[in-house]
């Protein structure tokens, strides 16, 4: 790329990049979509309660079993494997359940989506209201700087802080601060940009529900003179979130910003079956962003249908991290560098129209690679 940048980008939704993105035509824009016949797309979007009910029953059963094991072996070294399983099931699997049920696609039945959404939101320490709106914005303006509140890796990436995400710090403390702030009825200026005023009272209500549960947990720990309640409720956000972070950073990390083609800013990775179950197939992330109403259980079929129009997927977590780490390392000095993958000859070209406009946004110039 010929572009150069001298300063870190400003990702603040309440900052000047927001209006700059609007002016550049990047907001609520038309995105590239692979061609899929309507009848096929309807089949792919079709809802069913069966897969998610099966997966949820299994998820709850495994949580209960591992929790019983953790309680039974508490105070001994044998507790460790139970907590490893419990932590991932509690804090990483809840991330994908939150995500899919938030989209309203996991179950056909609305109340099942809503119930699992609220439970999973609590487990991953997210306000179910504010994060619903945050994620809607993420899908409207995916990795558009100044608009998307869910950009995990900002340029230049704070590498040490990012590494700490795997052990839940300082994320857990930041999450608790947000819950308390929401409970007090206060929204940040960035949140006010994407959460309608009518929803802010609901966000405060659910934050207070979460606070009551956490306060009860701490009270129980105090009465029992044991950390066990905190280790089981809330604690997994520290020791069990690593799988969600590992998969989550791969979704968009190291890829393009300010484009209108998900093939440039999202990554599909082939995963082992266990990780796919924990992650509910969100490794098919280009496909998910292109067609967010396709339920998780149909994403492998969608991938098979459009893979000839997409860049080749990363073939493992290791391969994906190798390219991701190379990219963020290079972005330390070349902040407008991104991984640009070749498309197969069968694919339609990337949408280049915005790049050829040579948009100047604040202190960063984007130009044709």
């Amino acid at each position: 790329m010929s572009a150069t940048a001298t300063n870190p980008r400003d990702y603040n939704l309440a900052g000047p990049e927001n209006q700059s993105a609007v002016d550049a035509g990047l907001v609520s824009a038309d995105w590239y979509h692979s061609d899929i016949p309507r009848k096929v797309m309807k089949e792919l979007m079709k809802r069913s309660d069966a897969p998610a009910t099966r997966d949820t029953l299994l998820w709850v059963a495994l949580i209960i079993i591992s929790a019983i094991g953790a309680i039974a072996f508490w105070g001994t070294l044998q507790v460790i494997p139970f907590l490893i399983f419990y932590g991932v099931l509690y804090s990483s699997a809840s991330d994908s359940r939150w995500h899919e049920c938030g989209h309203g696609t996991a179950f056909r039945t609305t109340w099942k989506n809503d119930l699992v959404y609220h439970v999973a939101s609590f487990m991953i320490m997210r306000n179910p209201i504010s994060w619903r709106w945050s994620h809607a914005r993420h899908h409207t303006d995916t990795i558009i700087v100044g608009r998307d509140p869910e950009i995990a890796l900002m340029r230049p990436t704070a590498i040490a802080k990012t590494a700490l995400l795997f052990i839940g710090v300082p994320g857990v403390f930041e999450d608790l601060q947000v819950i308390i702030r929401h409970g007090a009825g206060r929204m940040s200026n960035a949140e006010k940009d994407y959460i309608p005023e009518s929803e802010q009272k609901k966000a405060a209500f659910w934050a207070r529900v979460h606070i009551v549960i956490y306060a009860t947990t701490v009270l129980m720990a105090t009465i029992m003179q044991s950390f066990l309640p905190v280790v089981l409720i809330g604690g997994p956000r520290i020791y069990g979130v690593w799988h969600a972070v590992m998969t989550g950073l791969l979704q968009h990390g190291g890829l393009a910003e300010d484009v209108l083609d998900h093939r440039l800013n999202s990554r599909t990775v082939y995963l082992n079956p266990v990780s796919r179950w924990i992650y509910w197939n969100m490794n098919y992330h280009v496909e998910h962003h292109m067609f967010p109403m396709v339920p998780y259980f149909s994403l492998p079929r969608l991938h098979a249908l459009i893979k000839d129009d997409l860049p080749a997927p990363s073939h493992s977590i290791f391969a994906a991290y190798r390219e991701l780490l190379g990219s963020i390392w290079r972005q330390r000095l070349e902040r407008d560098y991104y991984i640009r993958k070749d498309l197969p000859p069968t694919a339609k070209p990337y949408r280049e129209d915005l790049h050829t406009l040579d948009i100047t946004r604040s202190n960063m110039r984007i130009s044709t690679p």
């Binding site: 609520s28 309807k42 079709k46 309203g104 696609t105 709106w133 809607a136 309608p196 967010p292």
Partner: protein
């Protein structure tokens, strides 16, 4: 007020939707599971996404972007992130053709 010819009834599957553009306006035209026809504005009231890409389930249309839902027979907003109702228009079958009345 005038009735506009849209398409053959058979051009829309049962429990499905198509896009219909007229002048500078865009509409969504539906056939329910029992073959009745309906029409609404074509764009979601949340973020101006064409509803024709969404899924019709029973009497509901889902926005294909954020899963905001409307009752396409009444226009009522049913699920966040949509709160504003969708405008609806009279629709009828006339000799096997679907027509909608717009104002």
């Amino acid at each position: 007020m005038s009735w506009l010819d849209v398409c053959d009834a058979e051009d829309i599957d049962l429990e499905d939707v198509i896009r219909f553009d007229h002048g500078d306006r865009t509409f969504a035209v539906y056939r329910s599971a029992d073959g009745a026809v309906f029409a609404t504005d074509g764009l979601c009231t949340h973020e101006q996404v064409h509803l024709c890409g969404g899924l019709v389930i029973d009497d509901t249309i889902e926005c294909p972007k954020h899963n905001g839902r409307f009752n396409y027979q009444t226009g009522a907003a049913l699920r966040a992130p949509v709160y504003d109702a969708l405008a609806t228009y009279p629709a009828r079958l006339n000799n096997g053709r679907i027509e909608i009345e717009v104002h």
